[in-house]
């Protein structure tokens, strides 16, 4: 077994009295896609910033490539590619210049930088926009420039902070495809997200964070089997009437979650549960059976739905 | 909170700056000039302080009004779309032009009164003519702001603004008769100064404060300034129409 790429033990980050990250432990192995899943304020971004060596740790141990961020920040950053939450692209430069100048911050020779930039723009399908300034690009295009930019130093580790937040579904899928390709090439990805589908799509392993703590850890599949059932039955009885039916409904599933607008019933066989209810003359206004997802895991672990 | 800060910085502009210029240039350079060999003849017997300070209302108005007609006005058209929001109500582009003119007038009035109050503290410039110099300053400001607003509304980026300051406003400031009579200029340059709005504004303000201006020439200066404003306003109506109701 190789040494893990990132090791964190009892890692803490405080801003004054506020504890953003509260004694977390995790390892990220070479070549895996590792996710931090959680709502805003859960401590995902703070964890990412500490890994990126732009935020000093308050206490605990953190090692990246076996180096300490305090002593070797510069050396670590040289081997990391960062895609920040807000695209911090250089508005005064063109798309191509953005990549080349960024490469120069890594001391990469200019001709190497140009060659890599051309290649990467091809990879993110922006070659024809290379001489445009960044401003008129769409959100998805900007994010792709950010990804290309973070790859220009051929990083051993990529940090992506909410890579698809704020993008339309189509742009998201393009992006997922590109990230998936990177993964196939063996890149190590660490990403944060509050989208369940994204975590399911991209992550080999993830930790669920809430209130600065890690509340669960495992592969997406694993988490779903541990913390949810195979299927979920969603029913609406109309506003204000959902709670009336809780006791009857809880008899057909393993667990019931009450949301303001609907009831969720966790069951191995959703259709079967619905049929049983219908036999007992309990007819919801609408009903839907779906596979359980990380959203359900999250709900189970934190008792609330994810909000942006 | 926000308004208080704006108000404070306005105060800095309205009183602090003229005081500094009066002390720095008026008194300081004045002391040198008044020792000069032929200054009394060139300045018609007035001290340099009186000569320079009396033009300050016009030059300050030019600066305030021009700046207001560039970036902040572009903000209204381009960045915050405030004017377009207005014209989706029953307000016509023509009304926006008039409204802006009134706004510039208000802004320059505050500035001009500020300078006038400061000038009233000095013996050499204390006169009833200060009251006449305030509208002179406002007219000067508008003669810049209104035509510039027409230009601003036809632009989508502020790239042209620094060159406007550098090649139009600053040269007028330097060569427009504020620091010395334009008779000092080379003969070919003097007629150029005659057509600049700043020179008319300076003459009007100075003439009013030092009470040296014959009525006829005063009317001429007012007429020229008004012509700039009216032509600018007409240009605004056209460009605003094009911009807001394409």
């Amino acid at each position: 077994m190789n040494e893990p790429l990132i090791t964190a033990r009892s890692l803490v980050k405080k801003f004054g009295d506020l504890v953003a990250v509260d004694e977390i432990d995790f390892d990220v192995e070479q070549g895996e896609a590792f996710g931090f899943l959680g709502p805003n304020g859960a401590g995902k971004t703070s964890s990412m910033r500490m890994i990126g060596c732009v935020s000093p740790t308050t206490s605990g141990r953190l090692e990246i490539f076996g180096l300490s961020p305090t002593a070797d920040g510069r050396a670590i950053r040289a081997r990391i590619g960062v895609v920040p939450q807000m695209d911090q692209l250089d508005n005064e430069l063109t798309v191509l210049e953005n990549l080349v100048i960024y490469a120069r911050y890594f001391d990469i020779p200019r001709d190497v930088a140009r060659a890599r930039a051309a290649e990467l723009l091809e990879f993110v399908q922006l070659t024809e926009r290379k001489d445009d300034t960044v401003d008129p690009l769409s959100g998805g295009q900007k994010r792709r420039v950010s990804i290309a930019r973070s790859l220009i130093s051929e990083p051993e580790l990529m940090l992506l902070d909410e890579p698809t937040t704020g993008l339309d579904p189509q742009a998201r899928h393009v992006l997922w495809d590109r990230l998936y390709q990177l993964k196939e090439r063996g890149a190590t990805l660490v990403l944060t997200t509050h989208y369940m589908d994204e975590a399911e799509q991209l992550c080999d392993r993830l930790v669920v964070m809430n209130g600065g703590k890690i509340v669960a850890e495992g592969s997406p599949r694993n988490l779903i089997t541990t913390y949810a059932t195979r299927e979920v039955l969603e029913m609406r009885f109309g506003r204000g009437h959902n709670e009336e039916h809780v006791s009857e409904v809880s008899q057909v599933g393993e667990r019931v979650e009450i949301l303001p607008d609907r009831l969720l019933v966790y069951a191995h066989d959703g259709e079967g549960a619905l049929a049983t209810l219908r036999e007992r003359n309990i007819i919801p206004e609408s009903a839907l059976v779906r596979r359980s997802s990380l959203e359900d895991v999250f709900l189970r672990l934190t008792g609330r739905t994810l909000v942006d | 909170m926000f308004y208080r800060r704006i108000w404070k910085s306005n105060l800095v502009g309205a009183f602090f700056q003229p005081v500094l210029y009066l002390l720095g240039i008026g008194l300081g350079v004045g002391a040198l000039v008044d020792q000069g060999p032929n200054s009394a003849a060139v300045l018609d017997g007035f001290s340099y302080f009186a000569f320079y300070s009396s033009a300050l209302i016009a030059t300050m108005a030019m600066f305030t009004a021009s700046q207001e007609a560039l970036w902040p006005t572009m903000d209204g058209f381009q960045w915050s779309h405030a004017y377009r929001a207005m014209t989706s109500t029953p307000i016509a582009p023509r009304d926006v032009a008039t409204g802006l003119t009134i706004f510039y007038a208000a802004k320059t009035t505050v500035g001009a009164i500020g300078v006038a109050v400061v000038l009233a503290f000095f013996d050499e410039t204390r006169s009833w003519g200060l009251i006449g110099a305030v509208p002179a300053g406002v007219l000067t400001g508008l003669a810049f702001a209104v035509p510039l607003a027409a230009w601003t509304s036809s632009r989508t980026t502020p790239d042209s603004f620094p060159p406007i300051l550098r090649f139009i406003i600053i040269p007028m400031f330097l060569f427009g008769g504020a620091f010395y009579p334009i008779e000092q200029l080379p003969d070919w340059l003097e007629p150029v100064a005659w057509v600049t709005p700043l020179w008319h504004g300076v003459e009007l303000a100075r003439g009013s404060i030092l009470q040296t201006l014959p009525e006829g020439r005063g009317l001429l200066h007012v007429g020229v300034l008004c012509a700039y404003i009216v032509l600018g306003w007409m240009a605004c109506v056209v460009t605003f129409e094009r911009r807001l109701n394409p």
């Binding site: 990126g52 732009v54 510069r74 990391i80 911090q88 960024y102 001391d107 | 700056q17 330097l174 200029l185």
Partner: protein, 274 residues
């Protein structure tokens, strides 16, 4: 984790000089970026050369005739030749202040340039030194143009005036460093409205337009203006006579520059590396 003894040693050293300044490796990369950006706006840079020309010409045709000659040291010089060094120093100051305040604030808050720089192997020290260096380079360009303009207008009094470029670099360095340090404390654009409240008095009262002796008993106040020390340097170069006070002039400017850089680097680290 660092051993406690080492931490202590570092903290004593950083009480005097911030640690970030020991960590400057490649500020030139940021300068490179500025060059690429400016290449597109070269017209703007060229047009900047006209401003000194206008000022100098205006003073020559107008005020010079009114004022006559002014005494500098033991010599009498025409007024335009007297003012030109003052304006040269002032323009070095204004350029540096603009670059290091409004421009830097934009890059910091709006464009978030420094956030993305800190994610690379660049350090806070690199940024502070890089930005100030760029302000100095631009100042160098402008002061060279200024000197050329003076030469064309016949206002250069001595060969020593070549040294004025060095003086302008020093002025630019000092004001850019202090300007950038102040910028790190700015909360919003509105704070920059106060900028003229500082630069305008410096411009007017640094013996720019008349000798300090004009202030009579108050002439010592002028010594407090950092710009005055720049003006004095260039004026001395233009008549080609240097006295011991030149050392004081240089020391003041260098001191300001060092303090400014130190504060800037520390603030960047504090504000962005949280």
């Amino acid at each position: 984790m660092t051993a406690p003894a080492a931490t202590e040693r570092i903290s004593i050293a950083t009480r005097i000089i911030p640690a970030v300044l020991f960590d400057v490796r490649r500020p030139q990369r940021l300068v490179e970026r500025s060059l690429v950006v400016t290449r597109r706006g070269w017209l703007m840079v060229v047009s900047g050369f006209f401003e000194p020309l206008f000022y100098l010409l205006s003073i020559r045709v107008g005020l010079s005739a009114l004022v006559g000659d002014v005494a500098v040291g033991g010599d009498l010089v025409p007024y335009d030749e007297f003012v030109a060094p003052g304006l040269m120093a002032a323009s070095a100051m204004n350029g540096a202040v603009f670059d290091s305040t409004m421009n830097v604030f934009h890059k910091w808050k709006q464009a978030r340039l420094y956030d993305s720089l800190l994610a690379t192997p660049m350090s806070a020290g690199d940024i502070a030194v890089g930005e100030v260096t760029w302000a100095v380079i631009r100042g160098l360009l402008y002061s060279t143009a200024f000197l050329a303009t003076m030469l064309v207008l016949g206002m250069v009094g001595s060969l020593w005036m070549v040294l004025s470029i060095g003086a302008c670099v020093l002025i630019g360095f000092a004001f850019a460093a202090v300007g950038m340090a102040c910028t790190t404390f700015a909360r919003s654009w509105a704070d920059f409205d106060y900028l003229p409240a500082v630069t305008l008095p410096l411009f007017l009262f640094s013996a720019t337009f008349y000798p300090p002796s004009s202030y009579g008993d108050w002439s010592w106040v002028v010594q407090l203006s950092p710009l005055y020390h720049g003006v004095a340097l260039i004026r001395a170069a233009n008549v080609g006579e240097f006295s011991a006070s030149v050392i004081v002039n240089i020391a003041v400017l260098v001191g300001l520059a060092l303090v400014g850089i130190a504060v800037t680097a520390r603030r960047i680290e504090k504000l962005l590396l949280t």
